[in-house]
């Protein structure tokens, strides 16, 4: 197995008195997709935000390609340029065209010349079923299309890993499919990713490994088949039983 792209060691994070991450250890190899599952409030989003340095951690270390990124001396901008983040609520820039949304990061960070970023943006939008929408504003698109633009935006800068934070939770059920298809395609291309999700079927299908978060701790990890079909820990069993009862699996 190749060396890990991301390594998370003993990460803790509190908001005020509330301990949200309680010593997280997780390692993600190149081309690997890890699905984070767990109830709302279990810390999935916070963990992703900490990895992208959108939140400061209280303790522990996070490594990207073997290099510590949670040291105060590290420039967070250079770290974020090597990672892609997709938000639950898309968070596209409403005052910019779809194409500008996709190219802004690459152009402003100086990662690519404008022409190259534009060409790549157009090509990717086309590939993910958004050809012809380049000049539109985000609010002219459906939720599913907006989320695909957000995926393309994160993917366009060739990140070392994609962090996907509940990318389908804000979508109408009939729009979920296209977004998941886009994620699947990025995974097939070898993109390393961490996927916080409630879509169990999707997690089972796309993820190489599942990590179950409970009250800020990863209580169980393993292949999808192992974690979902024969969970060892009572917390995991309870969580999956509840999802089953709710018709979510």
């Amino acid at each position: 197995m190749s060396s890990p792209v991301l390594e998370i060691e003993g990460v803790t994070k509190s908001f005020g008195d509330r301990l949200v991450l309680d010593g997280i250890d997780l390692s993600i190899s190149e081309h690997e997709a890890v699905a984070l599952i767990g109830a709302s409030g279990s810390g999935k989003s916070t963990l992703l935000r900490c990895i992208d340095l959108l939140e400061e951690i209280d303790d522990g270390d996070i490594y990207l390609d073997g290099e510590v990124i949670t040291d105060p001396a590290v420039n967070p901008v250079s770290v974020r340029r090597r990672l892609g983040f997709v938000f639950q609520a898309f968070n596209l820039f409403p005052h910019m065209s779809v194409l500008d949304n996709v190219t802004l990061g690459a152009v402003r960070s100086g990662a690519m010349p404008k022409q190259e970023a534009t060409d790549r943006g157009r090509e990717l939008l086309d590939r993910f079923g958004l050809g012809g929408r380049e000049a539109d504003r985000p609010d002219q698109l459906s939720g599913g299309q907006q989320q695909r633009v957000a995926l393309v935006r994160a993917f366009a800068s060739r990140p070392r890993a994609l962090l996907l934070d509940e990318v389908t939770s804000a979508l109408d059920p009939e729009l979920v499919g296209d977004v998941l298809e886009a994620v699947r395609e990025m995974k097939d291309e070898g993109m390393t990713m961490i996927i916080a999700t409630h879509e169990m079927t999707f997690a089972r299908e796309v993820a190489d490994r599942i990590a179950f978060l409970h009250e800020g701790r990863i209580v169980e990890t393993g292949t999808p088949a192992k974690v979902m079909d024969s969970p060892e820990r009572p917390e995991t069993q309870r969580f999956l039983r509840r999802l089953l009862a709710g018709g979510r699996i």
Partner: protein, 243 residues
């Protein structure tokens, strides 16, 4: 109702006098060129003050919306600045600065009434405009900044390319309101004896016992403020239609 009111005014016994003292074509013709020349000073002062206000107001707003704990002292200063300069009548400020600074015995531009009046107006309007900008900046959701940082922008780039364009677009109407106020308040510098349009009109009317020059000055102010409002409306509509 308007017709009735007009009828009442035009048939009143005093109307011929009013017509003579306020709407005399002859007095208009003699005083208008002077007032127009003086109005050019108003326009230049307005433009200069407006540029300063747009920049200074933005700087103050950015300080007030900053989150860094290290900036707390200047954040407090900025808040005090806004409270102070919004709380004092503009005319008082023009007086205090226009007569106060020269008393210090300074010379050159610092003793120049036009310059001092512009300083007073800039200070007062920057406080108003800073609050308008601030409202706009706070109305842009925090997730926009997150998103901008996540695509690899620096904090400054996030502000410049993501937050401010949205903020300014949202506060265009109140900003315009303040511009129009400022265009009119330029007349306040007349209290320092500066010969701008209102002052010249006042002198003319006092020497001729006719108020028509004041009407001429009023028309000049309107000739600037109304087209400006329409042009900005037009720009706003054009931009909104692409959003």
């Amino acid at each position: 109702m308007l017709g009735g009111l007009a009828l009442l005014v035009f048939t009143s016994s005093g109307w011929p006098d009013v017509q003579e003292t306020f709407f005399s074509p002859e007095a208009f013709r003699t005083s208008f060129p002077d007032i127009l020349r003086a109005f050019w000073l108003d326009v230049r002062m307005f433009v200069a003050v407006e540029v300063v206000v747009l920049i200074l107001g933005l700087v103050i707003a950015l300080i007030r919306t900053s989150l860094s704990p290290a900036l707390f002292p200047i954040r407090a200063l900025a808040a005090i600045y806004c409270d102070l300069f919004r709380g004092v009548p503009v005319i008082l400020l023009v007086y205090l600065i226009g007569f106060g600074i020269p008393t210090l015995g300074v010379t050159g531009i610092l003793a120049e009434p036009i310059f001092l009046a512009c300083v007073a107006l800039s200070l007062a309007y920057s406080a108003y405009v800073a609050e308008v900008y601030r409202a706009g900046i706070s109305s842009v959701h925090r997730t926009q900044t997150d998103s901008a940082l996540a695509v690899g922008l620096t904090k400054f780039q996030a502000l410049r390319h993501v937050v401010l364009p949205q903020a300014v677009r949202r506060v265009r109407p109140p900003l315009l309101n303040d511009f129009i106020s400022l265009q009119k308040d330029v007349a306040l510098v007349s209290v320092l004896g500066v010969q701008e349009a209102f002052r010249v009109a006042q002198i003319d009317s006092q020497s001729s016992f006719n108020y028509t020059p004041l009407i001429a000055a009023a028309l000049l102010y309107l000739a600037v403020t109304i087209p400006m409002a329409r042009i900005l409306d037009y720009i706003a509509r054009k931009q909104d239609s692409v959003v």
